[in-house]
Amino acid sequence: MKKRSVLLLTMCMVVMTAGCASGGSDAQNPDNSESGDELNVLIVSDLDPLEPVFAEYGDKNGITVNVESVPYAEIFETIEVRMGTEEDTIDVLVADAPLITNYTAKGYLAPLDDYVAEDSLARITESSREGGTVDGQVMALPLYSSCVNLYYNKELFDERGVEYPDYNVENRMTWEEVVETAQQLTYTDDEGNQIYGMTFEQIDTPYQLLPLSQSLGAVQYISDDQTTTEGYTNSEEVVEAMEFYGNTFNKWNISPKIDGSESTSYFCSGQIAMFVGGSWNISSFDEAGVNWGVAPHPYFEGGDAVTPTGSWYMGVSAYSKNAEAAAGFVEWLTTDDETCQKTYDIMQNLPCNISVLDAIEADPENEGTPAALNVYEAMNTAMARPGMVGYEEWQSVLQKTYSDVKNGADPKEALDSAVTEIDSLIEKYQK
């Protein structure tokens, strides 16, 4: 009897813990009503500056827009946990571009075709519209697109007497040149602070690191039938790119071993000379008083210039009880010309709205700015991340692999191990 009680107690404790794990996010969730005058929006904290825009929609339409913001590091898990349990307390959610197919397969997103007008869809670029379309159905609409540039701290360059990178895309730096320059800019300053030559903004993420292998010629990361990543995600080009990535931390020591959440503050505090990141950081640079310059995204010598693209989309939860109102909000937020202009003014990200894009191109004041550079990159060098049903699994395993490589793991072994795990995880989508 005693033994049985102990076993029962054990089972209870394990189940209780599992329950706590899944309940963590719920506790913070706003108490949603079923009424149509309230919308609950789940966003990633990168979008926090847009909260006044969200509130404006609420004011205009007499509804309350409850915004729940989750840090980037947790957003994917939060969506999986809460949508996986079919929560109806989220009406609108963000979706990273390559995950839309995955969320559609899992039934998280409601199709928007019945709610969104053709005129509205015509206001955004065709490529961005296609990015949110799965099997002919519009599942999500783009908030904006994205591009990554090379930002540099002019003061650190001046201090070491190093020439600034060129803004002209014809003189785009190679990664080999970046390493050489970064080595000159990695030093200990007079106050004993360690200054690093470069960092990626989104350390350990496929979004930021895929262009390395794409620049070396990698074009495919999963087989055409989406059953295996063997030979694709661990192809020669990917291994070579990972060797480069690992070397920035472990051989050349030009990058600090930090998390992506710390990289912007390192650049803002003058501890990093070159920052490969997005234009959404500019307001942070300015607030911190960084004297910065911008140059095109680097590429490998003899390879292609490739830049990351795609960004956050907004979709309506399949479990929302306010689907129509939620779709109206998404339509207004992502396609309305005036709203998209406001979004662009705040975030400075590459827009998907055609009228805003036209305005950027036409404005002579944009010459020499990240905005003009981003428009050029979007038209010429942008390469999307692979869309696949198992993207969440693929991304999750790769992020851990990148992190292991950063911490000194052998790139080939780490990638071989990663594809085995990914293939095992995506097998379920074939059944």
């Binding site: 033994k3 102990v6 054990t10 089972m11 898990e77 969440e392 292991d404």
Partner: protein
């Protein structure tokens, strides 16, 4: 007598009902779900037999998680029990300020595990952590700590012990307070020193407390989750990929609730066997 039983039953019923609904039922539901799988092609759930269990015992990443969990427990449980008992003995020493020491030893207990992990993360940051600054002072170069596959598990053991010692020591202090003083006095008259008293009086008298602490500590460490979730993400190279954390990822990140159910059933059985063995070894002998 019958009336007394009725009263007891009535009072127990609400609690039992809640336990059955929220604890016992989910266990059986988990066991049931572990024999099914979701078909993304057919968009329905289909019977899978023991396929999920075969996956658990053939998937190298799951096997690694089981190995990590077992290694962690083999080390952390004796360490925590030995040190917390030692701490309890120290806190029993009658000296000035005993209440103060008893209070401060509770600080790690009062801090939530999530916050404790965050604090240790700051302390062990390879770039700007206090620990590396201290090591630098004595001439030791920067360490990667949680980012080093050879060190990460050891540091999780350290921080888990830091967090758990005070809690388990509380039970030992309560147990020590219960040992009749006349036993020590009698032993003292017979010429027993401190260590002999500890061996022949304290330890036998503390058997029930030890049994409770050993079993409870094993349970809590087998289902440890927070350090992997907050600090290490199961890495580096799977060095801290505890089974509970993998179960969480399988269920909520990789959307495979059925496989996760099979994994938790395996965890339950493992835990049942281990604490069953502990209970057997620590049983009261007539």
């Amino acid at each position: 007598m019958r009336r007394k039983n009725l009263v007891v039953t009535v009072f127990l019923l609400p609690a039992m009902a809640l336990i059955i609904i929220f604890k016992i039922y989910p266990i059986f539901l988990g066991v049931y779900e572990s024999f099914f799988t979701y078909s993304f092609v057919g968009k329905n759930t289909v019977f899978a037999g023991i396929q999920n269990y075969i996956t658990v015992f053939t998937d190298s990443t799951v096997l690694n998680s089981i190995k990590v969990t077992l290694i962690f427990n083999v080390i952390v449980n004796p360490v925590q029990i030995f040190l917390s008992f030692g701490l309890a003995l120290l806190l029993m020493v009658k000296l000035r300020g005993r209440k103060f020491f008893r209070t401060i030893h509770m600080i790690p207990v009062a801090v939530s595990f999530t916050i404790a992990c965050t604090l240790w993360g700051v302390l062990l940051s390879p770039e700007q952590g206090l620990m590396n600054s201290l090591l630098n002072v004595i001439g030791i170069p920067n360490q990667s700590f949680l980012n080093d596959k050879d060190q990460a598990l050891a540091w999780v053991i350290v921080l888990s012990s830091w967090k758990g010692l005070g809690y388990w020591a509380l039970f030992f202090i309560t147990g020590l307070e219960e040992v009749p003083q006349q036993l020590y006095e009698a032993a003292s008259l017979d010429g027993a020193n401190y260590w002999k008293s500890l061996r022949w009086i304290t330890l036998p008298q503390m058997k029930r407390t030890f049994k409770f602490v050993i079993i409870s500590d094993t349970i809590s460490n087998f289902i440890l989750f927070v350090p992997a979730y907050v600090l290490t993400g199961g890495g580096p190279n799977g060095a801290t990929d505890f089974l509970m954390y993998r179960i969480y990822r399988t269920a909520y990140q990789y959307s495979d609730m059925n496989l996760a159910s099979a994994m938790i059933v395996v965890l339950l059985i493992m835990l049942g066997i281990i604490i069953g063995a502990e209970a057997f070894l620590l049983r009261d002998k007539e």
